[in-house]
């Protein structure tokens, strides 16, 4: 069963940056965009497993640091013409604290 778990304070994630969260399901990348929205996806690019957490964040997307696939943060889907999907997780901010829904 997935439950909401506390990750860190919102300010602990740089704007247009990310933090890596180690979990039972593997590493999860938690992103913060310019609007202070947070997103969480499995930290493995659907292309060749690049660490998405290390990419450049823009809009609601991240560009993978290894070969520049663009991954939509709200869906986990790669932007066309690439095809692939990184598992996404529910993630939210409550009173300045970032929460992640994981097993």
């Amino acid at each position: 069963m997935s439950t909401w778990k506390t990750v860190c304070a919102l300010v602990d994630i740089p704007v247009l940056g990310s933090r890596v969260v180690r979990s039972a399901e593997g590493d999860i990348a938690v992103f913060r965009n310019a609007e202070d929205e947070v997103f969480a996806v499995h930290d493995k690019c659907p292309h060749k497993g690049g660490p998405l957490s290390q990419g450049i964040v823009h809009g609601k997307s991240v560009t993978c640091p290894l070969h520049s696939w663009k991954i939509g943060l709200d869906t986990g889907e790669a932007q066309a013409p690439d095809v692939g999907c990184a598992k996404r997780y529910d993630c939210k901010v409550e009173s300045g604290v970032v929460m992640l829904k994981v097993a």
Binding site: V15, V20, G49, I56, G59, P65, S68
Partner: protein, 817 residues
């Protein structure tokens, strides 16, 4: 508020391109209505030739499917020809009575084949070659009949002849001039082309004039009679003797027309509400018949329709290429020569190669090529840029590869072979894309630019080393429709229309200090850019306003953000600086200790004379750096668009041949440049004598000791394509070496485009220009040197910073749930 109404007449390539551009600028400004006489949505007209030749189907060449119009709420009237423009009531009226009111009108009616005024020109079986209907008719005729005659041996006529031949017809081409394609080729190249077309089976009648077309028993055309009396059997006659802009509609409405509808530099006709674009328009006396100019016009026109009010069209230089598979012809500019021109000619009739370059005042003004056209794009660019070619004159004929320092990061040796490459050959090694995939995408998806190919195929979108090859493939697939991109006027990326130079200028002139300020001042189209523009802007900021601009870590590539090189498995490498490649037992011990302590899987000596610790976990980075700093070591910036290494040889310190102390000179340079960020990475080398054991000949700055001092070479490159560094100057003291090297590098830092290495920068601006500034103008040299020193002042080792600053250190820590 009511939206403005935009009506477009003509649903072809120029018009739809304008709408696409307009929708990018101002998606909601207009209610758009389009009338097209043809029953098809916009398709890629130039690909009708491969359709006729049976190499593609009609479905493959659609550019904007019906869904596209629906998606953008465009009211589309297909199969409706506009018969009248009523300017008083501002409406247009179609053949079936449909009318539409406009606030702005866009004429994009293209042109029609010129039909020779000879008896019989209206017989069934006599057609022009312009659209899908004509093509279908030709395919049908080929199925039922045997003899075809094509009038006119221009580009279009030859493509028609080739297609009909491949469809099994006997084809004769009747041409009025003394050689074929006389408007694109000189006689020597035309003769070679004609010979190879004859070999395929096409027959030619040169210096031949058509007298009449003869009607057969069935009522359709059966023969063509020439003025000299000769009669050629003809079940179908294709008129390809030129085109006429479709300007009557405008003329009837009282808009000023000449050959075409006359427009100004903003693509407006004499009625300012009415724009004209594409083949129906005449700009500064020229009505173009190729697509490349139309795209430039579309950009300008869309910009004005969007009421941005910037951009002017000032005419185009065009080039042509024949789309007949297996035959390569290219021509551009004033290929016939003339007063004050000189010609360089290579003619190998049995080898099937002919090249002629026409020069005027040390500039390339024309080129014709037959057989080997791989360098067409390159010559065309030299021609358009009016680049001075005096220095490369002796190698010019042998093409881009032979010319040692050429434009752009064009890529691997295979570059010139794009056209010859097998479809299965890999082009982009990073993303595993082969040539066939790229060609298919270009044809089927209607791609015209490098960016589009990148987006659709991923080729050239990673390391970029295959960019040149991809451009070649584009050029050979599209022919004349391809626009060779000029790096200095290319937009930074899809997030903006501004090229690099403008961004830099705005930063300087408006004293912009942050990435977001630049995006705001320059109306970026995306909220926070992308992984292409942000690093470029960040670099322009910190190089223009050192100590002032905000260096944004989130706008740095991962390697620079974390001060380490990311590996394929997500681990990192650590390369401590080793000034001049010189180390000490203590340093080696410290390296050995961290390697043990953090269980580094691989320890390697790099090609840059230092040691690489590979496979380090991200969370261990700051800890390792802490240990290394304690031993006095700092970041080697092996990860940065920055100073990398200064390689040295043993030199006069130990070597029996050494003339100068290369090790200490190298250490001085590397110490001075510590922390220097640049458009791309920068490598130096110092050798103690001309035996050059430090390989100074392929470095961004190479210094070679000689008896009386040092020779300085610049703009070498040992990477993707080896470039030999060029001699800059000879100096006598260590201080001069520092001053000249720093001045050159500072000039590159201030003027180089992001991701352009010194060799590409110098190829773009010319070594003469660099010499003028660095050698002839002592004051400017000193200023550059000083600006370099100023920007490096107080640079703090980024590793030590990460060790000391808990905020930064936090970035390397992993959280858990």
């Amino acid at each position: 508020m009511e939206k403005l109404r935009l009506v477009m007449i003509g649903n072809g390539m120029a018009g739809c391109r304008t709408l696409e551009e307009l929708l990018k600028h101002a998606p909601d400004l207009y209610d758009i209505t389009v009338f097209g006489a043809e029953p098809h949505p916009n398709y890629n007209r130039i690909m009708l030739s491969p359709v006729l030749a049976g190499e593609m189907g009609v479905r493959d060449i659609i550019l904007n499917p019906l869904e596209w119009y629906a998606e953008h709420n465009i009211s589309l009237h297909l199969g409706k020809k506009i018969e009248k423009i009523d300017r008083i009531n501002r409406r247009v009226i179609a053949s079936d009575g449909t009318a539409a009111k406009y606030d702005r009108l866009l004429l994009a009616t293209g042109s029609s084949p010129f039909i020779l005024p000879v008896p019989g020109n209206d017989l069934p079986g006599v057609i022009g070659y312009r659209d899908i209907a004509d093509t279908d008719m030709m395919i049908e005729a080929a199925r039922l009949h045997k003899h075809a005659v094509v009038i006119g041996a221009g580009l279009l006529g030859l493509e028609a002849a080739n297609g009909l031949l491949l469809r099994g017809m006997d084809v004769t081409v009747v041409h009025i001039a003394g050689w074929i394609m006389e408007r694109q080729l000189d006689q020597a190249s035309a003769d070679m082309l004609m010979a190879s077309l004859e070999q395929k089976g096409i027959r030619f009648k040169l210096n031949a004039q058509t007298a009449e077309l003869v009607q057969g028993e069935s009522g359709r055309v059966c023969a063509l009679r020439l003025k000299d009396g000769e009669t050629l059997p003809a079940d179908i006659v294709v008129m390809a003797a030129g085109i006429r802009p479709n300007a009557e509609l405008a003329r009837d409405a009282g808009i000023h027309t000449n050959r075409g509808v006359v427009v100004n530099d903003t693509m407006q006709t004499y009625d300012p509400r009415v724009y004209a674009i594409g083949e129906c328009a005449e700009h500064r006396g020229v009505a173009y018949g190729l697509v490349a100019p139309l795209f430039e016009q579309a950009k300008v026109c869309a910009n004005h329709l969007a009421m941005n009010g910037i951009g002017r069209y000032s005419g185009s230089v065009t080039s042509t290429k024949l789309k007949v598979t297996g035959i390569d012809v290219f021509s551009a500019g004033e290929f016939m020569g003339g007063d004050g021109t000189e010609e360089i000619v290579l003619h190998d009739p049995s080898g099937g190669v002919y090249k002629k370059l026409v020069l005027k005042e040390n500039k390339l003004v024309g080129a014709v090529m037959y057989g080997d056209t791989a360098d067409g794009g390159w010559y065309f660019q030299l021609l358009k840029d009016r680049q001075n070619v005096a220095e490369m004159r002796d190698s010019l004929m042998f093409g881009e590869m032979a010319h040692a320092s050429r434009i752009g990061d064009a890529g691997h040796q295979g570059n010139n072979k794009a056209a010859l490459m097998a479809d299965s050959a890999e082009v982009c090694g990073c993303n595993g894309v082969c040539k066939g995939t790229i060609v298919k995408a270009i044809k089927e998806q209607g791609l015209f630019t490098l960016d589009e190919v990148k987006k659709h195929t991923k080729a050239a979108s990673s390391c970029g080393s295959c960019t040149g090859l991809v451009e070649q493939i584009l050029a050979s697939t599209l022919g004349g429709a391809y626009q060779h991109a000029n790096p200095s006027d290319k937009a930074v990326c899809g997030c903006t229309d501004h090229p690099h130079g403008e961004v830099r200028k705005a930063i300087r002139e408006q004293h912009l200090l942050s990435v977001s300020a630049v995006m705001e001042a320059m109306n970026w189209k995306t909220p926070n850019g992308c992984a292409t523009c942000r690093p470029a802007i960040n670099y322009y900021l910190i190089s223009t306003w050192p100590h002032e601009a905000v260096d944004d870590p989130q706008s740095r590539y991962i390697n620079e953000r974390h001060h380490a090189n990311i590996q394929k498995d997500g681990t990192y490498s650590v390369v401590p600086r080793m000034l001049g490649g010189i180390t000490t037992p203590d340093e080696l011990r410290a390296i050995a200790d961290v390697a043990d302590k953090y269980q580094v899987p691989t320890v390697k000596v790099t090609g840059g004379q230092r040691i690489d610790l590979l496979g380090v976990k991200k969370e261990d980075l700051p800890k390792m750096w802490e240990d290394l700093s304690r031993a006095g070591m700092v970041s080697g910036h092996a990860y940065g668009k920055s100073i990398r290494t200064v390689k040295t040889c043993v030199g006069a310190e130990h070597c029996r041949f050494g003339t100068q102390k290369s090790m200490s000179m190298g250490v001085k340079l590397e110490t001075m440049l510590f922390g220097m960020y640049a458009p791309h990475k920068v490598k130096l080398a110092v050798s103690g004598c001309p035996r050059n054991c430090a390989e100074a000949g392929i470095k961004d700055v190479g210094v070679i000791g000689v008896d009386s001092g040092y020779e300085i070479y610049v703009a070498g490159n040992g990477g993707i394509k080896t470039e030999v560094a060029e001699f800059l100057v000879k100096v006598s003291t260590d201080e001069e070496v520092m001053e000249y090297s720093a001045a050159f590098l500072q000039l590159y830092r201030e003027e180089g485009l992001y991701l352009e290495r010194t060799c590409h920068y110098v190829a773009r601006v010319g070594l003469d220009y660099v010499k003028k500034i660095i050698l002839d103008d002592a004051e400017r040299r000193k200023e550059l040197y000083e600006r370099m020193l100023y920007s490096l002042q107080g640079f703090e080792d980024p590793w030590l910073q990460a060790v000391k600053d808990p905020e930064i250190r936090k970035r390397y820590e992993i959280l858990s749930v």
